[in-house]
């Protein structure tokens, strides 16, 4: 005999939306609470790495075309900072709310979603930072910037799909919290963050196209620095990976909705 549960009234959508908002605000509020620099920390990683790579570039001779190299790498580094920030926050986004999940019936999907919503703050700070850099280097902003919201949307969808999986994985397999720093480092060097994807050796090129960040970072560079439309072929790869991850992650999420509390 299978279990059957009938509950009335059902969870309301509007309440879920309010809860999502409250969780996101809480996330933003507490992250830099009682720090001296507050939201300035969002830019610390991209700025520090931009300086480091400006130096490495002289050693390694990385081409960046007509684009000033700091601008070139800062674009990649901002996209990377957003990614790594969301992924590392996603790990504890469910397990961090253990006491709540163990006593109140809340839709678990709101926790990874709140990470994405909260990351909008970081995203805005980074976009403003990049635009300021563009002005500093006297690079004109063209209509192709209208592509930016599209790229950001794809980026956030991809991150959401990933977050669903990592947040659940950390409930059942704590290994992931040990593996993640190394995996992130690997991913960083495998992505065209501080080098152009045209530099990727021929034999790895097909593989690197399946890295969702390749299409995104190259896309950001096209629309912000080169005033061209992004490569739709590369973006299609990103979209396919996103759909695959969502196709795996969402059914698992639905399935585990009522089991997560037992495993925490």
């Amino acid at each position: 005999m299978r279990a059957q549960v009938i509950r009335t009234p059902r969870l309301s959508i509007r309440w879920s939306a309010e809860l999502l908002w409250a969780l996101s605000i809480h996330r933003v509020n507490t992250r830099y609470k009682e720090t001296l620099f507050g939201f300035g920390w969002i830019l610390l990683q991209p700025i520090a790495l931009t300086i480091i790579f400006a130096y490495i570039r002289r050693v390694a001779n990385i081409p960046s075309g007509e684009v000033p190299y700091p601008l070139f790498s800062a674009t990649g580094l901002c996209a990377w900072a957003l990614t790594s920030l969301v992924v590392s926050q996603s790990l504890v986004c469910i397990s961090g709310f253990t006491p709540v999940i163990k006593r109140v019936a809340v839709p678990k999907i709101l926790f990874p979603l709140s990470v994405i919503v909260a990351s909008m703050v970081d995203l805005c700070v980074m976009v403003l930072f990049l635009i300021a850099l563009l002005f500093y280097y006297g690079t004109a902003i063209s209509v192709t910037i209208l592509w930016l919201p599209v790229l950001l949307f794809v980026h956030l969808c991809f991150l959401f799909a990933l977050t669903c999986l990592t947040s659940l994985a950390n409930v059942y397999m704590r290994d992931i919290s040990h593996a993640l720093p190394s995996l992130l480092q690997l991913w960083f060097f495998a992505s065209p963050v501080f080098y152009p994807s045209s530099m990727v050796p021929e034999e790895f090129r097909a593989l690197s196209h399946w890295n969702p960040l390749t299409g995104l970072i190259e896309g950001y560079r096209s629309v912000l620095l080169l005033h061209q439309s992004p490569s739709l072929q590369l973006l299609a790869h990103t979209a396919i990976i996103t759909f695959i991850l969502l196709g795996i992650g969402l059914p698992i999420f639905v399935r585990l909705e009522s089991c997560v509390a037992d495993a925490l």
Partner: protein, 243 residues
């Protein structure tokens, strides 16, 4: 029609590693997991629609908390049929979800929403929540500077302001001082008079005597007996070797 009805409800927990549990939970095939623990075994329970208080007693590990979690919808039963009509609010460990970095006020809003209230509703009840908790002087201070009793009071106050029909209660408020205990007592009585159902888990026979009309006695995940408070308590205490 009953407010709460459980028909031969069982709940099985896995005791093995997380990976095996994950495989078993996702696939629905229990073969992946060999170590199981039966927390509830064929439990039947029906609570009619009226202001009643059901005390739940039993030794540690007898399934009391699991039963409340299933009623709260936190976890799903492995077998059986569960029917719950009405909003459930846990007054259990009412302070557990509190965030130490947030101020009292921020916690009232976050916790209120988590427990099922709407923002506007909390706004409306804010004064009453603060007054009841008695922490008005510390409202804009981070919770980490509160005493344990103050956190408990605030948690209880928020949870008891939710318009819920079913209240899950444990003794967590015993941490608060005597005057607050009296206050919360009358609050519970008041909520019950309004037609709420109280499910009270406690190891304190006196508390059960004061509040419960009926008692459910659980042991090893099974219902031993259910009936009028005095009768069940007498048998339970004699089995436990207490006067």
């Amino acid at each position: 029609m009953e407010r709460i009805r459980l028909d031969s409800v069982s709940k099985r927990f896995s005791r093995g590693s997380g990976t095996k549990t994950l495989l078993a939970s996702v696939s629905g095939i229990s073969w992946f997991q060999s170590e199981w623990f039966l927390a509830l075994d064929q439990v039947n329970l029906a609570i009619p629609d009226s202001g009643v208080c059901l005390g739940i007693i039993g030794p540690n590990g007898s399934g009391k908390t699991t039963l409340l979690r299933i009623i709260a919808g936190v976890t799903a039963p492995t077998q059986g049929k569960v029917m719950v009509r009405g909003q459930v609010v846990p007054l259990l460990e009412a302070s557990a979800g509190m965030q130490p970095e947030l101020t009292g006020r921020e916690n009232i809003f976050l916790n209120g929403i988590i427990l099922g209230m709407r923002r506007r509703e909390i706004q409306r009840k804010l004064d009453s929540i603060v007054e009841f908790s008695g922490v008005d002087k510390f409202l804009d201070m981070p919770l980490k500077h509160y005493s344990l009793g103050m956190v408990t009071r605030l948690g209880f106050s928020v949870a008891s302001h939710v318009d819920a029909n079913i209240l899950l209660v444990d003794e967590s408020w015993s941490m608060a001082d005597a005057s607050f205990q009296t206050k919360s007592f009358s609050r519970l009585t008041q909520l019950r008079k309004r037609g709420g159902i109280l499910l009270l888990v406690s190891h304190d026979p006196n508390l059960i005597r004061r509040l419960a009309d009926q008692v459910l006695w659980l042991q090893n995940g099974r219902v031993v007996r259910m009936g009028p408070t005095e009768e069940i308590l007498k048998d339970y205490l004699s089995v436990a070797g207490l006067p």
